[in-house]
């Protein structure tokens, strides 16, 4: 907290200097909002990285404000824009892109980069991670805290159930059969848990892809919620609880899932790779991490937050913001960030650093998310994305709690989504 006070005082002092002697100091002040959606002392890590940046760039002051979850961060950042005390950049949901463009809030990175070297930098990230950040041929978001869903499993529990701890389920059938063996009769442990609060549509994106489907089109103005394959995927999710009984029925809370896994209330959990370090540091048992199981194919959506630069900033601020973003996503920093959190390294170069190479060597699970990229697709992102996501979330929860059948729920969601997206087609 003292660090923050210092930074605030520095910021105020800098602003005062700037006001008093306009020609003298070239101090640029940046404000950025960022969210945290996984466990661990991430605010400290971000603060540390920002401090390192300021040490190397004495002419830039950065005020990094923790804003809550992805929703909160977007609300805060946009609110700040309208309030006359704007932020110059922020980390926000990769899928907020259409909303931010429609609000005329952000600039494309193509319009900020000037040198060839900078342009090359735009192409240095994993293409799959760039999918959610690009539209109309321009780049609007740069990957920072990116993830895929991975399957964490309790090796000790596997051993105790007579299963091979090095053979996590690779298909939907295996998930069910393994889950049944792992579910305790007395209800003290479940076979698997897939969270259905927080970001249910994200988990559902994985199941849909594993069944060979995608949820929306590339232009973000059409959804496919009621395709038969998609309905099948939701039925499978529901059956895990209601038919196969390897998962609790009803909704499973995103925030307490990690704790449930650590307390061995479930032998398998599907969760963001961003939880990896927190699980690693706190698990009292032997655990493993694997790619999600396949049905027709393997699949997972990418997830997480990108850096965006806001339009309402001076050219000097945009340049400074670009500098900060390049710093935070540089291979070495991205590698350190990945080690400290479990989020992916955002570029091949990050995995080529000695930091990540050594880390992967001693802890191979750190590479699961990266390896899964070849089976990954963009996260659900459309115009009016907040409402559309909520429609899908509600229908998933309705199906899982038995309020309606998967078919009815998804048909309703599709109808309403089509109505909302009509004007963007």
């Amino acid at each position: 907290m003292l660090g923050k006070m210092k930074r605030v005082i520095c910021g105020v002092a800098a602003a005062a200097c700037l006001a008093a002697t306009p020609a003298m100091s070239a101090q640029t002040e940046l404000t950025m909002y960022y969210p945290v959606a996984v466990g661990g002392p991430l605010t400290k890590v971000v603060d540390g990285m920002v401090d390192d940046f300021m040490k190397e760039n004495k002419d830039i002051t950065v005020n990094a404000i923790y804003a809550g979850n992805y929703n909160d961060a977007r609300i805060k950042a946009l609110a700040a824009l309208k309030s006359g005390k704007p932020a110059q950049l922020s980390v926000m949901f990769s899928i907020d892109i259409y909303e931010l463009i429609n609000q005329d809030a952000i600039v494309a990175f193509d319009d900020v980069v000037e040198t060839d070297e900078e342009r090359a930098w735009l192409d240095s990230f994993y293409p799959t991670l760039m999918e959610n950040g690009k539209t109309d041929g321009k780049t609007w978001g740069i990957p920072f805290q990116r993830s895929t869903i991975v399957m964490y499993y309790n090796k000790d529990a596997f051993k105790a159930a007579g299963l091979d701890p090095e053979a996590p389920p690779a298909t939907w059938e295996e998930l069910v059969s393994v889950g049944k063996k792992l579910t305790a009769d007395d209800g003290s442990r479940w076979g698997a848990m897939i969270p259905s609060t927080g970001y249910p549509y994200w988990m559902f994106g994985a199941l849909a892809m594993q069944n060979g489907e995608v949820l929306m089109n590339d232009s973000g103005n059409a959804t496919y919620f009621d395709n038969p394959g998609v309905v099948e995927a939701l039925q499978f999710w529901k059956d895990l609880g209601s038919q196969h009984k390897i998962m609790p029925e009803g909704t499973i809370e995103w925030g307490t899932l990690r704790q449930n896994f650590l307390e061995e209330k479930t032998a398998i959990m599907w969760h963001s790779t961003g939880n990896l370090t927190a699980v690693k540091n706190n698990a009292s048992f032997d655990f493993g991490v694997a790619m999600l199981p396949a049905n027709k194919r393997r699949g997972t959506p990418t997830g997480g937050g990108n850096f965006y630069i806001f339009k309402d900033s001076t050219p000097a601020e945009k340049k400074a913001a670009l500098k900060l973003i390049r710093f935070m996503t540089s291979p070495e920093r991205s590698a350190q960030w990945s080690v400290k959190t479990g989020y992916m390294g955002v570029s091949p170069a990050a995995y080529a650093t000695s930091t990540l190479q050594n880390y992967v060597k001693e802890f191979p699970y750190a590479a699961v998310a990266r390896d899964q990229l070849e089976h990954a697709t963009a996260e659900l992102s459309t115009h009016q994305t907040g409402r559309i996501r909520k429609l899908l979330d509600d229908s998933i929860q309705a199906a899982l709690t038995g309020r309606s059948t998967p078919e009815e729920a998804l048909a309703k969601a599709q109808d309403q989504a089509t109505m909302l997206l009509k004007k963007y087609q």
Binding site: G187, T197, T251, E253, T256, Q397
Partner: protein, 293 residues
């Protein structure tokens, strides 16, 4: 030195002016503005705002979430208010007589009132967490598999209602305590002399005398039930599938998450209508109370 009537009038308005400006800015102007905004569809970037008349209200009628939300508000009020008022009356009666530790008991009842709802929600969130939460842990000790309180549509509202009763009962108790103090002990004496039992006294004398207070608390409680949505931010965010969503939270989501100010305004207009109706009800009830006394 007597001031002239018109001078006095001027001073009167001047004294009122600061408060009037704020009241205008943050109550009357927004009320009118909301009604106006509800007739407009919000522009987004390249699409400009335009006057759409009653389109937003037509959307309201077809909006499943809106209907669910209104129903939830009604259920929430029905579940919370009678129970908390009943408990409040019982508590007030308990604490009104003297016994050892009366002050502590009264304090215990009143404590939830001074906690913010957000803190109450945090505490109860842990109670309701499935499997590892407190209630489910205690239930498993006696072999019962507790339901997913906050994750099952049929239990989420009751769970929230119980929490709200815990928070509110102590607050209402205070009003009853105040009212009990104003009841002349002669009533009690008269009833005792006539040989009437305690229950008779309560039913035929005390309760009717407390009726004005009860009505006053009821209407206030209903109004409060529309205003208090803090707990949703921590507990359920309105889920699962809107089973715990309330009108003010839906307004917040629509305005701040979906950036649809026009629709949010029409939702607010409905809320204003409900509250104004309740205010009128209370005004007339209050009016009669004044005449009683």
């Amino acid at each position: 030195m007597h001031q002239s009537t018109s001078e006095k009038a001027l001073y009167g308005w001047l004294l009122l002016l600061p408060a009037a400006i704020l009241l205008f800015t943050f109550t009357y102007y927004p009320m009118a503005g909301t009604l106006f905004d509800s007739l407009v569809a919000e522009g987004r970037g390249s699409i400009a705002s335009r006057f759409v008349g009653l389109a937003n209200y037509r959307m309201l009628l077809e909006d499943q979430v809106f209907k669910t939300v209104l129903l939830n508000n009604l259920l929430f009020a029905l579940g919370t208010i009678p129970a908390s008022i009943g408990l409040a009356l019982a508590m007030a009666l308990m604490v009104d007589r003297s016994f050892t530790g009366r002050g502590l008991v009264r304090m215990a009842f009143f404590t939830p009132t001074i906690l913010p709802m957000i803190a109450v929600a945090n505490i109860w969130l842990f109670f309701y967490t499935p499997d590892i939460g407190l209630i489910d842990s205690l239930l498993s000790l006696i072999g019962i598999d507790g339901p997913n309180w906050l994750g099952t549509p049929s239990t989420v509202l009751p769970a929230i209602i119980v929490m709200a009763i815990w928070k509110e009962a102590g607050f209402f108790m205070i009003f009853y305590l105040a009212a009990l103090q104003t009841i002349s002990p002669e009533f009690k004496e008269a009833a005792r002399i006539e040989g009437a039992g305690g229950w008779y006294y309560f039913r035929r004398v005390l309760f009717p005398l407390l009726m004005p207070t009860t009505l006053f608390i009821s209407v206030n409680a209903v109004i409060n039930s529309f205003k208090l949505v803090d707990h949703l931010f921590v507990l359920t965010k309105g889920g699962p599938d809107n089973a715990s969503n309330l009108l003010l939270y839906y307004i917040y989501e629509t305005a701040f998450s979906y950036f649809d100010a026009g629709y949010a305004a029409s939702l607010t207009a409905v809320l204003l209508l409900i509250l104004t109706t309740l205010a009128l009800v209370q005004f007339f009830v209050f009016d009669r109370r004044i005449h009683y006394r």
